[in-house]
């Protein structure tokens, strides 16, 4: 019979091989699902993962989608390493977009060198405020941050809907639920003329490298890691848990807010009722796929960005429903967490025998 047996140590090989195995299993399983839906499996997986890159502007679109995922995934990997379970980045993303977008709408005539930095600051502060509130509730009332951060995500979404359909609605917008277009000075600087490749695409990997250094090399990062792995040892060392919870929520919230601001000022150019196609939740998968390592988050962010493009392609080319993206991502997270059993355990075939 097949037996699961503890290794007694963490396998280095499976540390890196487990996400790859998860990816292969996800491909196989979604292939089966597509077959059940009456589509040829090979073609569908090809449409999902390869075709988007072969299109003109394929890589450009990928980078634009990946940037917010990487920014949020990096913040989350830091928080999760410290056992701070922020799952409301979607809300922090939205609040960042509202705050930064609000500045853009209020001062459309301000010069670019003032307006864009002010939006960046407002967006980041908005995300930090949303994350900080969650930290405060956990510390002050011992409220579980998994619940509070998720609930704030919904509250923020409704705040956005209220603003965009109410006071901030574009008077010349024929009643559509959207704000006026931002002025040109409010748009994120482009790296390449006439494309969507904005400054955030450069910023995201830089933030990942910076936070990797912080987490692995600095005293502050060490405190996060100890708090996550052995809270009592953190206490013994004199690391203050409350302070670390604050910092983790402010960083992950702030990065989500920044990602939200860059999304509206870099790609959308206005606020609408649907700013995020679930970026905040996808970022959770990104963080785990990247092994909660900020450097690993970069390829993980690119991959999950690809599933968004693939979902669009599957809708257009194969007539599959939009939910396919969510299904694909869900299967991936399932296998990711499942394959991690191989880190500390191994399977062994044991013939039945009498002792």
């Amino acid at each position: 019979m097949l037996k699961i047996e503890a290794r007694g140590y963490e396998s280095r090989f499976w540390r890196y091989a487990s996400p790859v195995l998860a990816l292969l299993l996800t491909g196989a399983t979604s292939g089966l699902i597509f077959m059940a839906m009456g589509r040829p499996a090979g073609v569908t997986v090809y449409t999902f993962l390869i075709a988007p890159l072969l299109q003109q502007d394929g890589f450009e679109a990928l980078a634009v989608k990946a940037a917010p995922l990487i920014m949020m995934g990096v913040g989350l990997s830091l928080a999760y390493r410290a056992n701070v379970w922020n799952i409301g980045t979607d809300g922090q993303f939205t609040l960042g977009a509202i705050c930064g977008g609000g500045i853009a709408l209020a001062f459309p005539d301000a010069p670019a060198y003032l307006l864009f930095p002010a939006m960046v600051i407002a967006g980041t502060l908005g995300g930090m405020a949303s994350g900080g509130l969650v930290a405060w509730l956990r510390i002050r009332f011992n409220a579980n941050e998994i619940l509070t951060s998720l609930m704030f995500a919904y509250i923020t979404q409704y705040l956005l809907v209220y603003l965009v359909t109410g006071p901030w609605r574009d008077p010349q917008g024929f009643g559509f639920p959207q704000t006026a277009l931002f002025s040109d000075t409010a748009l994120a600087p482009r790296l390449i003329e006439d494309t969507n490749v904005h400054i955030g695409i450069l910023l995201a990997p830089m933030i990942a490298i910076g936070l990797w250094f912080m987490l692995e090399k600095s005293l502050l990062g060490f405190q996060f890691r100890v708090l996550g792995q052995a809270p009592r040892a953190a206490k013994f060392a004199g690391f203050r848990e409350n302070r670390l919870v604050w910092i983790a929520m402010l960083i992950s919230g702030g990065l989500a807010g920044l990602a939200g601001l860059l999304e509206v000022s870099g790609t959308l150019g206005q606020l609408t009722t649907t700013l995020s196609p679930g970026y905040g939740f996808t970022a959770i998968i990104v963080a785990f796929l990247g092994r909660l390592n900020p450097l690993g988050v970069i390829p993980a962010g690119l991959l999950l960005a690809l599933t968004y493009l693939g979902g669009d392609a599957a809708q257009i080319n194969l007539g599959l429903p939009n939910a396919v993206t969510g299904i694909f991502q869900g299967i991936l997270l399932f296998y990711l967490l499942g394959c991690d059993i191989l880190l500390l355990n191994r399977f062994r075939w044991v013939p039945l025998k009498v002792v």
Binding site: E5, A6, R7, G8, Y9, E10, K217, S218, L219, L220, F222, R225, V226, Q229, A230, R232, A233, K235, F236, A237, G238, F239, R240, V354, V355
Partner: protein
């Protein structure tokens, strides 16, 4: 228990082998327990005693080997099967629900409704018969540790076992409770229930057991009659080296300044069922070792946390380290004023087991060893510090990059004690310095503590091991029910006088014993 006894040994195990990943826990071990025998299983931590016992109790399946129980070859499937065969076990750590009564706890352990019929009467009868006084209606969290152990024993005896396995039963008992337990065990053996007694307390084994199987590194090394050997000889067989006693040391001069002062320290325990500290006043001079004796769960961990700064005191003056009021300072700031600490639990408290030794050296050493530059970890210096500890304390490991969990208990404890001692503290507080540590490592730790005191530091050791306290301490206090007794000079103290103070906190135990007498 009154079976017409067939001849031959009760339990005969041969060639027992169990391979864990990376560790051969039992390597062709044999064990024979005769009828009516109290048989000791001796060995250091990690010698493979627990694995062997888990095989007998059906918790672990062996890879090889034959078990003959009562003349029959058996293949013990699980603990339920072991119980049906007549094997009972009292674990070192009890599994009792604090909020339930004695009877409820015992009933929970019995599977079938019919087994619960007349339970109360049977509990009372067995506890009277074997000198194990128990009130079935008392709630467990009011009971002393000794009484809790009695529940576990009675629970086993209800099954009419032929073999009772006891894992380190005396580590939680006062000397007088130990004597009572021995009376019970001798009586059980005489009536036909053999006892397998696991311990590393050699005096006890000599007094109680008529045969001993000694294990080292997963193998049998000897089968002896304990009474025919001295404690020193037994210890030497156990660890395979010559033991020498730590060198004695002169007392601290009376004029030396006080380096650690506790003044009316009162702490509410942050834990459910924890022990509050009440009005503790103590003073330690430089060069002095103060031993705090006591039975587990009488406020030791609260005292440790209050000294290390994990729990803050009400007023700064409650804890004074080297002349600086520190009651409101956290662990980090107490290290700055030359206080160092070794908590009882190694895994996850004193050390992060999933981190490397270098990272663990950094954990509490970064302040005093200046291992941080501009907020960044100085990896070179950190690694060098870990290397120094490994060398100075003879820590058996592959180097600073080894994960803490890859070390044996004794080696990790040497590393943690070394980490604090090498920070040259003015005040060192250690909770259970050699808990679960082999004799060789214990000796090294004792010598390091003495050397540190000889260098002028004030050392407080909190320990449940009276032998250790008598060897190390200049003065002894006892912690019972969260209060600490007036220290007495070790040379004026006896095991009996300290033992009386240790039991002093638990009045219920005393009244229970009266009922029997």
């Amino acid at each position: 228990m009154n079976d017409t006894a067939p001849s031959g040994p009760l339990l005969k195990m041969t060639g027992m082998t169990k391979q864990y990943p990376g560790c051969l826990a039992n390597d062709h071990v044999s064990l024979t327990v005769e009828r009516n025998q109290i048989h000791a299983l001796l060995g250091e931590n990690g010698a493979g005693k627990s694995t062997l016992v888990k095989i007998i109790y059906g918790v672990v399946r062996p890879d090889e080997g034959e078990i003959i129980w009562d003349g029959q070859t058996v293949n013990i499937q699980n603990p339920g099967h072991a119980q049906r065969l007549g094997i009972g076990m009292v674990f070192q750590h009890f599994s009792l629900f604090e909020a339930l009564t004695v009877q409820e706890n015992i009933a929970l352990g019995l599977g079938l409704a019919k087994e619960r019929l007349g339970l109360r009467e049977r509990i009372v009868r067995i506890s009277n018969e074997y000198g194990l006084p128990l009130d079935p209606d008392r709630v467990v969290h009011d009971l002393s540790v000794g009484e809790r152990q009695r529940i576990e024993i009675v629970r086993c005896l209800l099954q009419n076992p032929k073999l009772l396995i006891m894992d380190e039963p005396t580590s939680v008992l006062t000397p007088s409770e130990v004597r009572k337990l021995f009376v019970t065990l001798r009586r059980l053996a005489a009536e036909g229930c053999s006892i397998l007694y696991i311990s590393h307390k050699l005096e006890e084994v000599r007094a109680l057991c008529s045969a001993a199987t000694i294990m080292r590194l997963g193998k049998n090394v000897a089968r002896v009659i304990p009474a025919e050997k001295t404690v020193k000889e037994l210890a030497e067989i156990m660890i395979n080296m010559d033991l020498h006693a730590p060198t004695p040391r002169p007392l601290a001069p009376v004029s030396a300044p006080s380096r650690l002062v506790l003044d009316k320290l009162t702490i509410r325990s942050p834990h459910h069922f924890g022990t509050d500290l009440k009005d503790i006043s103590l003073s330690l001079k430089g060069g002095e070792i103060l031993g705090i004796a006591g039975i587990a769960g009488n406020g030791q961990s609260e005292l440790m946390d209050a000294l290390s700064g994990e729990i803050l005191a009400g007023k700064p003056e409650n804890v004074v380290i080297d002349g600086v009021p520190a009651g409101h300072k956290g662990p980090h700031d107490r290290r700055r004023i030359h206080g160092c600490f070794v908590p009882e639990e190694r895994n996850g408290h004193g050390a992060v087991t999933t981190m490397t030794l270098a990272e663990n050296a950094f954990l509490s050493g970064f302040t005093r060893r200046a291992l941080v530059r501009f907020g960044v970890i100085d990896t070179k210096k950190t690694s060098a510090f870990a290397e120094t500890i490994i060398k100075a304390f003879d820590v058996r490991t592959t180097g600073p990059k080894a994960q803490a969990r890859s070390l044996s208990g004794g080696n990790l404890q040497k590393f943690l004690v070394g980490r604090e001692v090498l920070q040259e503290p003015a005040v060192l507080v250690i909770n259970q310095p050699t808990w679960g540590v082999d004799a060789g490592a214990a000796l090294a730790i004792h010598e390091a503590i003495m050397a540190l005191a000889a260098g002028g530091a004030a050392v407080m050791i909190i320990s449940q091991d009276l032998d250790e306290i008598f060897v190390l301490a200049d003065r002894i206090s006892v912690i019972a029910g969260g209060r600490v007794s007036e220290p007495v000079l070790t040379r004026d103290a006896t095991v009996e006088s300290i033992g009386r103070l240790m039991g002093g906190g638990s009045a219920p135990a005393a009244s229970g014993e009266m009922a029997v007498a």
